[in-house]
């Protein structure tokens, strides 16, 4: 027993020694790495891959988007394992096929690829497809800029008037998000609304603001 104890201790010491040396070498390598690293854009990486055929470039590019791809797959497939499989499948597919495409913006192109892949998988399993109807997004871009930026006086007046006209929950949510710069979780905490409610209040608020502003402008 005593011998064993000593032996164990010895291995521990050895382990610590090796571990420390590993850290040192790693730090050294990182130091060199930092000096030479430049932030390459998606399109640059893609070009490098097409030219050289070296999968490392594409791997690097894909890794940047794995969180987003995984998230979207989770949303549609509702299953961790299936989503992970999908992420890897998409990678394999693209590795082969991407050279054949002429892609302007990688991110948006990748988004539609991922969605189509997920739909394809879902269709294989069921005849029906349950998809959330996102009346979200892409509606009130101008409103978004109005709310987010400094604007000149008359537009600000109109905006303020329209905000006052909003129903209370929407007004509160919009105000807190855009003027007080709070996040959804914080708004939930302060107001007691549910998370989904906050999101929909903001969404509808933006839409109402847009309508109100447009009608105000046409009146003038």
């Amino acid at each position: 027993m005593f011998f064993y104890y000593k032996f164990h201790k010895a291995t521990n010491i050895f382990r610590i020694f090796v571990f420390r040396s590993c850290i040192h070498t790693k730090k050294g390598l990182n130091f060199f790495k930092k000096n030479t690293k430049i932030e390459e854009t998606d399109e640059e990486l893609l070009l490098k891959y097409k030219d050289s055929g070296d999968s490392e470039y594409f791997g690097k590019l894909y890794n940047r988007y794995i969180p987003l791809v995984y998230g979207v797959c989770l949303k549609y497939l509702q299953n961790e394992d299936k989503a992970q499989d999908a992420v890897m499948e998409i990678f394999e597919n693209l590795l082969l096929k991407i050279s054949g495409y002429n892609i302007k913006v990688f991110k948006t192109w990748l988004y539609s690829v991922v969605k189509n892949h997920c739909f394809h998988i879902l269709k294989e399993n069921k005849r029906e497809l349950v998809v959330d109807f996102d009346s979200n997004l892409m509606e009130s871009d101008d409103v978004l800029t109005l709310l987010s930026e400094e604007i000149n006086d008359d537009r600000e007046n109109i905006l303020n008037k329209c905000i006052e006209k909003l129903p209370e929950p929407q007004r509160i949510s919009v105000y807190k998000f855009f003027y007080e710069d709070l996040s959804y979780a914080e708004i939930v905490e302060i107001t007691g609304y549910h998370l989904k409610s906050v999101k929909s209040y903001i969404q509808n608020g933006k839409r109402n603001l847009k309508n109100c502003i447009e009608s105000s402008i046409t009146e003038e």
Partner: protein, 507 residues
């Protein structure tokens, strides 16, 4: 903050808001966030794993510079393994000694009470024959039992005498009892081993339970899809994946109804989960058109014996939409979706407690102690558990494994359950009316001066015939109401019935 932090749950502060703002304009990002929020899991970890995989897949020869590190890592692993091995070698536990048993025999956990009882018996035997060394014989042996069942003390299983008798003659019965149509499975062998030659069967003949010993050539084949045994309360988590094998070890073997094992059927197992992958405990799985039913356990696993070969099964759980599956596979997982209707607050009305002495009816009770419960196989509902235990209580197994419990009165000639009986005054309706007129004391309060009319009171009749829960349905004024109530209270008794009675009192 990058999206990983947001995914991990950092939802507060300027940076979180920035991401949310970006999501308003970027459908890719907002879809991804939705995905992470809708499925539970350690996402950051999985993401890192996938990134590592992809890096590995797509890496070129540049990785040679890390070769030194890799060798060092490998060395650490080897040294770790060696020291671990030495650790294990020196580590004495009963677990290991159990492991070192001959691979054929395995130990089974039995409820403590059972163990104590058997120990007492064994001690008794030892007293009678101090020279012998009555070691316990292993009677049940499971092949290929997956790890989990490693008790701290080995325990042997005793077979009740009645069952042993049965087994001796009739091999067919065991086939019926235990075999399922699906035969390509692990077999459960029951083998008796004579650990000590000094003990013979006759030593225990005076006892109710007999140690059943069998030669090794005879075997009970209990085919089952798995290696799972349930003895009363002993359940192992991992094993409950498939059909539990219920070994009939109750002393009153007759209780175990053979009828419950259908001859042609399927055994469907699986688990019931909600949309987030969490198991639903206590969900009811039933077969449409028969009374076969099962309930999911703490891990969401269930096992259902269906009556037909192509059954239609329904999975139900409160607050969730029921799911019907026709022609399920033998291993069927079911995912239930939450009901759209949110459950409003549930109001629970308690009727208070009553002292036993103040109840005029008769009370029969059953306690859930080991004697009556643990020896039997697990049952899907409380109704089943008390079947046949209480006098005057009948439990009927209706469809969908909901039992109807009826207390007395069901076996009369007129078997209509829900007949509506209106109580009548014992002295007769005419006499009662006369009584009301004659005994009416007209109140002379100011409120009720010059008032005329009828007060209608409504009440139920308890099982002694007295009016209870008297309420005024049509009132004129306070004093009149009270007078009416007084009259009814002091009036004649009524015949019993389950309907309410209305009485008009004229003023």
């Amino acid at each position: 903050m990058n999206i990983l932090d947001y995914i991990k749950g950092n939802r507060r502060g300027k940076h979180a808001r920035k991401i949310e703002l970006e999501a308003m304009q970027d459908p890719f990002l907002s879809d991804a966030i939705e995905g992470f929020d809708s499925v539970k899991g350690d996402h950051a970890n999985k993401i890192a794993q996938m990134q590592a995989k992809i890096s590995a897949r797509s890496s070129s020869s540049k990785s040679k510079k890390y070769l030194g590190l890799r060798i060092a890592a490998a060395a650490i692993v080897v040294i770790g393994l060696l020291s671990g091995y030495f650790t294990l070698m020196n580590h004495q536990t009963s677990m290991l000694s159990a492991n070192e048993n001959d691979g054929i025999y395995i130990n089974i956990y039995a409820p403590e009470e059972y163990i104590d009882k058997k120990r007492a018996e064994l001690a008794e035997i030892q007293e009678r024959q101090p020279n012998s060394n009555p070691t316990l014989k292993a009677v049940v042996d499971i092949e290929n039992l997956n790890e989990v069942m490693k008790p701290f003390e080995p325990m042997n299983i005793y077979i009740p005498e009645s069952y042993a008798e049965m087994q001796k003659g009739n091999n067919r019965i065991e086939e019926e009892l235990f075999s399922t149509p699906n035969k390509q499975t692990d077999k459960l062998y029951a083998v008796a081993e004579k650990a000590n030659e000094n003990i013979s069967d006759n030593d225990f003949s005076s006892k109710k339970d007999k140690i059943y010993s069998q030669s090794t050539t005879e075997r009970w084949s209990i085919s089952n899809d798995t290696s799972h045994i349930s003895l009363g309360a002993a359940y192992s988590k991992e094993e409950s994946k498939e059909a539990p094998l219920n070994a009939p070890l109750s002393e009153s073997f007759a209780d175990y109804s053979l009828a419950k094992r259908p001859s042609s059927s399927k055994i469907i197992t699986g688990k019931v989960l909600d949309q987030n992958g969490e198991p639903l405990v206590g969900a009811i799985i039933s077969e449409k058109g028969s009374d076969a039913g099962a309930v999911t356990d703490i891990d969401g696993y269930f096992s259902l014996n269906t009556k037909t070969n192509s059954p239609e099964i329904v999975a139900k759980y409160i607050g969730f939409e029921p799911v019907i599956i026709s022609n399920p596979s033998n291993q069927q997982d079911i995912i239930l979706k939450e009901d759209r209707l949110a459950l409003d607050e549930v109001v629970v009305i308690g009727y208070g407690t009553q002292k036993k002495s103040s109840i005029t009816g008769s009370i029969s009770s059953v306690k859930a102690n080991n004697e009556s419960f643990y020896k039997k196989a697990p049952v899907p509902s409380a109704g089943d558990a008390i079947t046949g235990k209480l006098a005057g209580v009948q439990v009927k197994q209706a469809e969908q494994s909901e039992s109807k419990i009826r207390i007395r009165g069901a076996s009369s000639l007129d078997s209509a359950e829900n007949k509506n009986i209106v109580p009548k005054p014992l002295i007769g309706e005419k006499e009662y009316k006369k009584y009301l007129e004659n005994n009416l004391i007209r109140p002379t309060t100011d409120e009720c001066k010059n008032k005329k009319g009828e007060v209608v009171v409504e009440f139920s009749v308890d099982n002694q015939g007295s009016p209870i829960n008297i309420i005024v349905v049509k009132s004129i004024c306070n004093a009149f109401d009270n007078e009416a109530i007084r009259l009814v209270k002091n009036g004649s008794k009524w015949t019993t019935g389950n309907q309410k009675v209305k009485v008009e009192v004229k003023f």
